[in-house]
């Protein structure tokens, strides 16, 4: 029984030792399943190369050392009649196995240093992108272009909590990916807004911690268009696993078109949400919105239908704090016909209609509700 157990032991041990070998062989066929991706940039290729060198060096040493050990375990067993010798020192051998590993390490230090120098390339970039980690999303800002947006997980809670089947891109999809052109050197400036995050795209070989108040830099340049998915790799709270990085690399023309659209959007944004609206502008816009979206229930004169739809004229919400009024429109009122308008009306329209309601039919709060206030409320949730 014990004999057989020992044979099993030997074979299993050799399996453990040979697994990295098997791993590297399999890696050829099933790409990213078992091994590090080669990626699409110089840095990721350098990391992969040094990784493979290390695997092979370790495998050769491991096979040698463990091979010898298994031989000893087989040949010098008591059950085979082995009698113990009594030596316990040999200066020559001991020096040898101190010096030889040192030499191996010194040799390995050369490719390791070269690879690291690639990571630290500080040459001029073509494009600079500021990446800010938030709990739990990323913000991308194209420096000098005036383009800035948030990128959040798109997978729904229903998928996460098993109320709906998981989609193909489960936890690998975002509202708005980072878009980059091929063939340009891009510098990423990574920082954190609240706690430490870490921005990682394996195919770029870029992983940089996002520390509040501190900027760290990484870079990438690739010739392969495609979609590359990465992750947040520094524990940042409960949403840590739910803030993926998605990067789309496009041909230059496509990228330019995308950027032009983005710029146009941000100009529009600046002229709507970003702009400070006057009371008159809001009143004019608000009346139209009110008649179209609210008057059906609350009536054009703001009196509502008693017992069915409450009046806005003189209502404590319309005369109360602005934030409560915004909340009713954004969140709706549970258990009533008042639904959420967050997705139906733009921030500008919501601000306008709130301003209209607070300053019509004898309501005279007199404050001005700006689109930015609505946006802030939305973001605060």
């Amino acid at each position: 029984m014990l004999k057989r157990a020992q044979a099993l032991f030997l074979s299993l041990l050799s399996l453990v030792v040979l697994l990295p070998l098997a791993g590297s062989a399999l890696a050829e066929s099933t790409a990213s399943q078992l091994n590090m991706p080669q990626g699409v940039t110089e840095v990721s290729q350098a990391a992969y190369d040094i990784h493979m060198i290390m695997i092979w060096v370790c495998t050769v040493i491991g096979v040698g050392v463990f091979g010898f050990m298994f031989y000893v375990m087989y040949a010098h067993r008591k059950s085979r009649g082995a009698v113990a010798e009594n030596f316990h020192e040999h200066l020559g051998v001991e020096l040898l196995w101190t010096i030889v590993p040192t030499i191996i390490l010194i040799v390995m230090a050369f490719p390791a240093t070269t690879a690291l120098l690639k990571v630290y390339d500080t040459d001029n970039p073509d494009i600079e992108i500021k990446i800010t980690g938030y709990q739990w999303k990323w913000q991308y800002e194209y420096l000098g272009e005036g383009v800035k947006f948030m990128s959040e997980l798109r997978t729904s809670d229903d998928e996460v909590y098993g109320r709906e089947p998981k989609g193909e891109h489960y936890l690998r999809e975002v509202t708005e990916p980072l878009v980059l052109p091929v063939g340009k050197k891009i510098r990423f400036l990574v920082t954190g807004n609240d706690v430490i995050h870490s921005w990682w795209v394996p195919d770029f070989g870029v992983k940089r911690d996002a520390v509040p108040g501190l900027f760290t830099a990484g870079w990438a340049k690739t010739d392969k268009p495609g979609t590359y998915v990465g992750e947040c790799t520094e524990l940042c709270g409960q949403g840590h696993a739910f803030m993926p990085v998605v990067v789309e690399v496009k041909e230059e023309a496509e990228y330019n078109e995308w950027l032009a659209n983005k710029k146009a959007e941000s100009v529009e944004y600046a002229s709507t949400i970003g702009k400070e609206w006057t009371s008159e502008e809001l009143m004019a816009k608000g009346e139209g919105v009110y008649l179209q979206s609210c008057a059906g229930c609350h009536q054009a004169d703001g009196n509502g239908i008693p017992g069915v739809f409450p009046a806005i004229k003189g209502s404590p919400i319309a005369l109360g704090p602005q934030i409560g009024h915004i909340a009713v429109l954004i969140d709706g009122v549970a258990g009533s016909a008042m639904q959420s308008f967050a997705d139906q009306l733009s921030e500008v329209n919501i601000a306008a209609v709130i301003h209209y309601q607070r300053n019509s039919w004898g309501n005279d709060v007199g404050d001005v509700t700006q689109p930015i206030d609505v946006l802030k409320y939305k973001q605060s949730k």
Binding site: V16, I50, M69, V211, P212, G213, E231
Partner: protein, 524 residues
């Protein structure tokens, strides 16, 4: 010896007082060992929750917030509650026996250093039931997640860490004093068993770095409650400073865990090879070298934080160097077996598995030291796999080996060899099924501390979870084996349980009497 220790026959009160007020090194060693095993099961239970949640993609059992508390508590309980006290327990039991001392040098402090531990862990565990939950910032508790953004319970966490630190420091001072002052005549430093050597070096490490941990949590405490800004960029501090302070403690801490394991294995392998340890003095020097190097490599945990390239290169080279003394140890162990007369009882099986798995973890450690590649490995499951190979295969396997090895000496009964070997195989196979796939997960891009993951990681996570459950089962078998041995084991009164065993602990009867070496033995 007027009377022996109180037993249950003397009544409950006498029995409980015996354990509460004991100053006997064997009693305290026993307390440490049982306490650490209880903590091992608790930390293991947390691990089972983690692996159960990760069995499939999606959140099935718990919320991400609770998941983070589980990973944090698993790490803290295993490092500070299971592994460290287990080795302190072994030290308490074995060091006086090995150096021919009647007891530890400072028996009352010994009692205190044990009895504050349960309070520390009661406090730590109770945070799980507090409003806002327990610590959820990882066992490395990086600021500002652990300061500005921490749950209320963080103050209790800090208090618990302080108590654990005090306990460790007292335990270490005791060991240092014992080894320096209590050796039997003829027991010179270079004749001490290697287990004693590794523990002395560990004790010095502990005295040096536990205060640094205490300093780190104290600075956190001040940042949280008194408005200072050591780690808060807003006030001119720096969150990265926290990482430097933490790893200045943290890296030596890793060796604190592994060095006594080296010591255990260096006792067991010669016994079952029936041949003295090869290269004793180079083992001592290698241990000292590893301890020294542990102080100058800490920032290799921070390659992605944005250090200047000169810093990265220095920490990379220094880290690679650790492979040399560690390699010396492995070569020495194997050469000890060479031309020996080998038998493979359970302790030997665990020790050989230790050598293999620890070396495997050492290889991945060497890979991690290469900064450019570490940019890809950092904070992924590759790292998780690496440190479980060195921590679990290192500390837990050698700890288990030590239990089987010395259990006959402790209780005078022999464990069931078949059961021991079965337990070994379950543990060995379960361990590898659990942690080998995590290498692949990490390389394929799965970050650590993830409560949920994409579908491409589903297969290996399921395999890993199954392995983890098997490995968890193996620990229940260990508990069963120990209890069965104590209750029903075959009595073995002979002093030298193992044919090839050497050392003073094998010159006293089994079970070791309550008081040993009242008169110092002669050691040649």
């Amino acid at each position: 010896m007027a009377h022996g220790p109180a037993t249950l026959a003397d009544g409950w009160r006498a029995y409980i007082s015996r354990w509460v007020f004991t100053t006997n090194h064997k009693d305290i060693g026993t307390l440490y060992l049982w306490f650490s095993f209880a903590m091992f099961l608790l930390g293991g239970a947390f691990a089972m929750v983690i692996r159960a949640e990760l069995f499939q993609p999606g959140m099935q059992l718990i919320r991400p917030e609770f998941f983070n508390q589980m990973t944090t508590m698993h790490g803290l309980v295993m490092v500070f509650g299971a592994i460290m006290p287990a080795f302190v327990g072994l030290a308490n039991w074995m060091i006086p026996l090995m150096i021919g001392a009647p007891d530890m040098a400072l028996p009352r402090m010994n009692n205190l250093s044990f009895w504050i531990l349960p309070f520390a862990f009661a406090i730590l565990t109770s945070t799980l039931f507090m409003e806002g939950g327990g610590p959820n910032f990882g066992w490395t508790f990086y600021a500002p997640l652990s300061t500005t953004y921490a749950p209320e319970s963080v103050n209790f966490f800090i208090f618990a860490i302080h108590i654990m630190g005090a306990s460790s420091i007292m335990g270490s001072i005791n060991i240092i004093a014992t080894v320096m002052n209590m050796r039997a005549p003829g027991m010179t430093y270079m004749k001490m068993p290697l287990f004693v050597w590794t523990w002395v070096i560990t004790a010095f490490l502990l005295v040096a770095v536990m205060p640094v941990l205490a300093g780190a949590v104290t600075m956190m405490l001040m940042d949280i409650n008194f408005g200072t800004s050591f780690f808060d960029a807003a006030g001119g501090g720096d969150p990265v400073l926290f990482q430097h302070v933490f790893w200045f403690f943290g890296h030596p801490e890793v060796y604190i865990i592994i060095l006594p394991a080296f010591g255990v294995v260096s006792q067991i392998i010669p016994t079952f090879s029936r041949k003295p340890l090869f290269g004793y003095s180079s083992m001592v020097y290698a241990t000292a070298a590893i301890a020294f190097l542990s102080f100058v490599v800490w920032a290799h945990h921070m390659f992605t934080v944005g250090m200047p390239i000169a810093g990265e290169l220095y920490f990379m080279y220094a880290t690679m160097l650790i492979a040399v003394p560690t390699g010396v140890k492995v070569f020495n162990w194997i050469t000890t077996m060479y031309k020996g007369s080998l038998t493979f009882e359970t302790p030997m099986l665990f020790s050989i598995a230790f050598v293999i798995l620890f070396t495997f973890g050492g290889f991945t450690g060497l890979m991690l030291s290469i900064a450019a590649a570490d940019m890809q490995y950092h904070d992924t499951y590759f790292v998780v796999a690496h440190f479980h190979y060195v921590m679990v295969a290192g500390a837990v396997f050698s700890g288990t080996a030590a239990i089987y090895y010395w259990l006959p000496k402790w209780c005078g009964k022999m464990y069931n060899e078949t059961m021991g070997q079965v337990q070994f195989w379950v543990a060995f196979i379960g361990f590898n099924i659990a942690f080998m796939p995590q290498h692949f997960l990490g390389l394929a891009g799965m970050p650590r501390r993830y409560a949920d993951y994409g579908l491409q990681f589903a297969d290996w996570n399921m395999v890993s979870s199954i392995g983890a459950f098997i490995y968890g089962g193996a620990q229940i078998m260990l508990l069963y084996n120990v209890i069965m041995t104590i209750k029903f084991g075959k009595p073995t009164a002979e002093e030298k349980t193992w044919e090839g065993a050497e050392g003073l602990e094998w010159t006293v009867p089994s079970p070791a009497p309550y008081h040993t070496f009242a008169k110092p033995p002669e050691f040649k």
